[in-house]
């Protein structure tokens, strides 16, 4: 009776993979949901690693003149902490959400280019491994003076333990030249950094093209652009930011790789190169990048707040246009990262002014979120706590950001912990809180269960306290003169007390994350079943059963207005209050029944080997470039190119889906067994926390 999605089969020389479960199912999947899940787990793993890197830094800084880390190890740790958190955690976790949700939010079955989607994921996966292999293979040597004489900095940079880390990339996540160039960072560690980021950038660029075409072309009937959920809009804006900013960093990374490997002179002052050019190119990418990091979280918060305030988002159009404005203006402010680099006063004034203007659309969003909550019947479930926390913490971070836009003030703040405080408030207090809001909120879509509410609240409060204890003191530590990117401070500076507090805060954060991880793992198997629509939500991803069936919607939805699902359930009385429709429960039960029982065969794109194979070639090319002076290095480049090229050819020949073979095999997993009768599920669909 249940006709689940049919997997096409084929007979060619190499049999097309058919399985959709088990390890091969994951390796060959082109399903956006599976890809999103893989992104999520990988990103979270890197979150933990980046967190451990931070804890090591904090142990070092908890006491003055500490010798826990050498200078070299410290540099490596803050470089990799930043690089990991930005490129291997926040960006891919954003990709996880966008991958999983975008087709569901717009009523589609998958993205525009499913195999390309898998390719992006595998490129990211191998790129992350390639980057981290620097800890095994990378070398970081003392600088070479122009006369060719090796500098006198001891390997690792002085006394202290954890010297083995000193061989890793240590030029900062921003790779300023010529410090991270061939003269001052000889060895291979910064090549791993540059080529690793190059590979990762390619993954995101491909993704951005995919998402833009998906949003423009694959919306369900009636899903006009201005009826899309805010998260779908923010994903689109992020895709455009990626599309236009990644090529710039790609050029910059090629240039630094060529400087390091092939003797070009782009950033080498000795040969006439201009280090400021690097800063321009890097920040031309780097500033849009920070909006890439925050906009998905803003989108999540815009989804969560209305549901748990039981009110529509205040000023939907304004929130969307503000998001687009932030992105657009975000392209025009990059040199505010260079106020202290010697740019002209005219440039400083122009960029300072431009930076201030971004506060306007940001403020619009904040006021609209507040307006959403104001007068609503707030339900302080875990997602709502994190979303509200986002609004508060991000506002604080934004305010310190505005102080940076005042140029003379920025000159005092640059390279102090005040800046560190700012960006952690917006990136942790902002993006990370938003991410957790999304994880708790959409957990039922992934698993069919709800995360434990008490553990969730424990996580929130521990994280909230730990976060503020960690980063609030950094504001005044910075204003007192504590310098960034420096592995020691003197006892006379009087900075130790608050640094101890900061370190304690950092460990409290770690504890809160442990609580979250326990909750996640436990709730996946033992959490309370969510049923359909556990949060009484507004948008159409909740019209599909939980967990989401492979084919998303049994029947492609037809959308009639914004918050379509809400309006199926509720109508307004004379005073504008929401009144549940008499037939709402039947509507929901029918949706769930239809969702689990598609009437007709549904064609889905077939799995494929080629994305993972093609992605495998790239790190080989990377290794080959790093060691190209050796013959085996050149061979490795050739092998990598050959692998990727062959995969490309195979891919080009393989159709997206095979001709239908009646009686296909499909693997039945536990959820296929659910058969929902309408009358049973009509009751109690809303989870009370």
């Amino acid at each position: 009776m249940t006709a689940t999605a049919e997997r096409p089969t084929t007979t060619t020389i190499f049999r097309r993979p058919k399985s959709t479960s088990g390890l091969w199912g994951w390796i060959t999947t082109v399903d956006h949901k599976k890809i999103g899940i893989m992104y999520g787990y990988a990103a979270f793993t890197f979150f933990i690693i980046g967190g451990v890197e931070a804890l090591l830094l904090r142990i070092q800084l908890a006491s003055a003149n500490s010798e826990f880390l050498t200078a070299g190890a410290y540099n490596a740790l803050f470089t990799m902490h930043g690089t990991t958190m930005i490129f291997l955690f926040v960006m891919p976790v954003g990709a996880a959400f966008m991958n999983y949700l975008l087709p569901l939010l717009i009523g589609a079955r998958d993205v525009a280019f499913p195999r390309l989607n898998a390719l992006s994921w595998w490129i990211f996966f191998f790129g992350g491994i390639f980057l981290y292999s620097t800890f095994i293979f990378g070398t970081s040597l003392p600088p070479i003076t122009p006369g060719g004489i090796s500098g006198n900095l001891a390997a690792g940079g002085g006394p202290g333990s954890f010297n083995f880390l000193a061989a890793s990339p240590d030029g900062g996540w921003f790779g300023y030249q010529p410090n991270a160039g061939p003269l001052y960072s000889p060895g291979t560690a910064m090549d791993y950094w540059a080529l690793g980021l190059q590979i990762l950038g390619l993954a995101s660029l491909i993704s951005s093209i995919n998402f833009i075409v998906t949003v423009f072309n694959m919306r369900a009937k009636g899903m006009r652009l201005l009826r899309m959920p805010v998260f779908a809009w923010m994903s689109t804006v992020v895709a455009f930011l990626l599309l236009f900013s990644l090529p710039i960093i790609a050029v910059a990374l090629f240039m630094v790789t060529f400087d390091r490997q092939f003797g070009t002179l782009f950033f080498e002052p000795v040969g006439g190169g201009d280090p400021i050019l690097w800063q321009h190119l890097f920040w031309l990418f780097g500033h849009p990048e920070v909006y890439i990091l925050i906009l998905p979280a803003m989108g999540i918060v815009s989804e969560v707040l209305p549901v748990f305030s039981r009110k529509p988002l205040f000023g939907y159009s304004a929130v969307i246009f503000a998001g687009a404005a932030i992105a657009f203006l975000g392209f025009g402010v990059w040199a505010h990262h260079m106020f202290a680099s010697g740019i002209t006063p005219v440039a400083q004034a122009a960029f300072g002014l431009a930076t201030m203007t971004i506060a306007i659309p940001t403020g619009i969003k904040i006021f609209n979120w507040l307006g959403t909550m104001w007068g609503g019947r707030l339900k302080l479930s875990t997602p709502m706590l994190f979303a509200a926390g986002f609004v508060a913490m991000f506002t604080i971070g934004g305010l310190s950001g505005v102080t940076h836009s005042v140029v003379p003030s920025d000159w005092q703040q640059t390279d102090t912990y005040y800046i560190v405080a700012h960006f952690h408030y917006v990136l942790f207090g902002g993006a990370v809180f938003g991410i957790f809001a999304g994880l708790y909120y959409w957990f039922p879509k992934l698993t069919g269960r709800v995360m434990n509410p008490r553990l969730g609240k424990t996580h929130f409060w521990l994280q909230f306290i730990g976060f503020n204890l960690t980063f609030a003191p950094m504001h005044w530590l910075g204003l007192q003169g504590m310098v960034r990117r420096t592995w020691k401070y003197a006892p006379e500076a009087g900075l130790e007390t608050w640094n101890v507090a900061v370190t304690i805060g950092a460990f409290i954060i770690a504890l809160s994350i442990a609580v979250f991880m326990y909750n996640w793992i436990h709730s996946r198997r033992h959490g309370e079943l969510s049923g359909l629509d556990p949060w009484d939500a507004r948008t159409i991803e909740w019209t599909t059963p939980n967990p989401t069936p492979e084919y998303n919607f049994a029947t492609p939805p037809e959308v009639t207005r914004l918050d379509h699902f809400w309006h199926l359930k509720y109508e307004e009385d004379e005073e504008g209050r929401a009144v549940r429709r008499a037939e709402a429960d039947q509507v929901i039960a029918d949706l769930e029944y239809d969702g689990l029982n598609p009437k007709h065969p549904i064609h889905l794109p077939a799995p494929s080997y080629f994305p993972i194979i093609m992605a495998m070639g790239l790190p080989l090319i990377g290794y080959g470039i790093i060691y190209h002076t050796a013959t085996w290095g050149k061979v490795l480049i050739g092998v990598g190119v050959l692998i990727s090229l062959s995969a490309l050819i195979g891919w080009a020949i393989e159709p997206l889906e095979e001709p239908m073979d009646h009686g296909p095999e499909h693997d039945v997993d536990e959820f296929d067994e659910q058969i929902i009768e309408p009358s049973e599920e009509a009751e109690e669909l809303v989870i009370d926390e």
């Binding site: 525009a112 280019f113 833009i212 423009f216 072309n217 092939f262 070009t264 002179l265 782009f266 006439g272």
Partner: protein, 206 residues
């Protein structure tokens, strides 16, 4: 209401919301990002070629304008053969399409040959390498990346030509691919239009 029994599958949507095929829209989106890529490289060249005081020879001192004019003309004409290929296919003239495809690839290869010749001249004759000075670095990297794009284009053109020969013509799916390769090819051409003027013609000191 869509007929569920014949519901179009993912990847072949019959009703794209924009009315433009996915792959075509994707190619246009990709090409618009390439402006940022080549823009950075051109900016880099403009910065360094306008800085005096470097040791070693500047590219602008050794350009062979007649030679480059000819190769620019060749690339420009390859855009003509490309549209003729597309045009032929749209009239189902498979043989014509194949011929013009090959002609485009051939002209592209001639252009590449010219680039190789130019680079060799510069290195062997004048001793200007990647490491001579930043202006030289910038020149080689800019034109090198452009040449790489041309080479990739030639490979794609020859692939389509090969498929056409093997299958006796291009199917509808490959017809779209020809259009997409054409867009890519024209883009590479317009970048060269900019490079020819900005890097060559306007760079040479009077």
């Amino acid at each position: 209401m869509s007929d569920l029994a014949h519901e179009p599958a993912v990847g072949h949507p019959e009703h794209e919301s924009t009315g433009i095929e996915n792959r075509k829209l994707g190619m246009w989106v990709f090409l618009s990002s390439e402006f940022l890529f080549f823009g950075a490289l051109i900016t880099n060249y403009l910065l360094y070629s306008n800085r005096s005081g470097f040791e070693g020879i500047y590219p602008a001192e050794i350009y062979d304008i007649p030679f480059t004019s000819v190769s620019s003309f060749v690339l420009l004409m390859s855009s003509l053969t490309m549209v003729l290929a597309h045009n032929a296919l749209s009239r189902n003239d498979q043989n014509g399409a194949r011929t013009w495809l090959f002609a485009t690839a051939a002209l592209g290869a001639v252009f590449l040959g010219g680039q190789v010749f130019e680079f060799t001249e510069f290195i062997v004759e004048y001793g200007m390498t990647l490491s001579t000075n930043p202006a030289a670095s910038a020149f080689y990297v800019l034109t090198g990346f452009h040449g790489t794009h041309v080479a990739i284009g030639v490979i794609m053109l020859l692939s389509l030509w090969g498929i056409s020969r093997r299958q006796g013509g291009l199917s509808e799916k490959h017809g779209l691919n020809l259009e997409l390769v054409g867009l890519y090819w024209h883009f590479v051409d317009i970048i060269w239009i900019v490079i020819f003027t900005v890097v060559y013609l306007l760079s040479v000191p009077v």
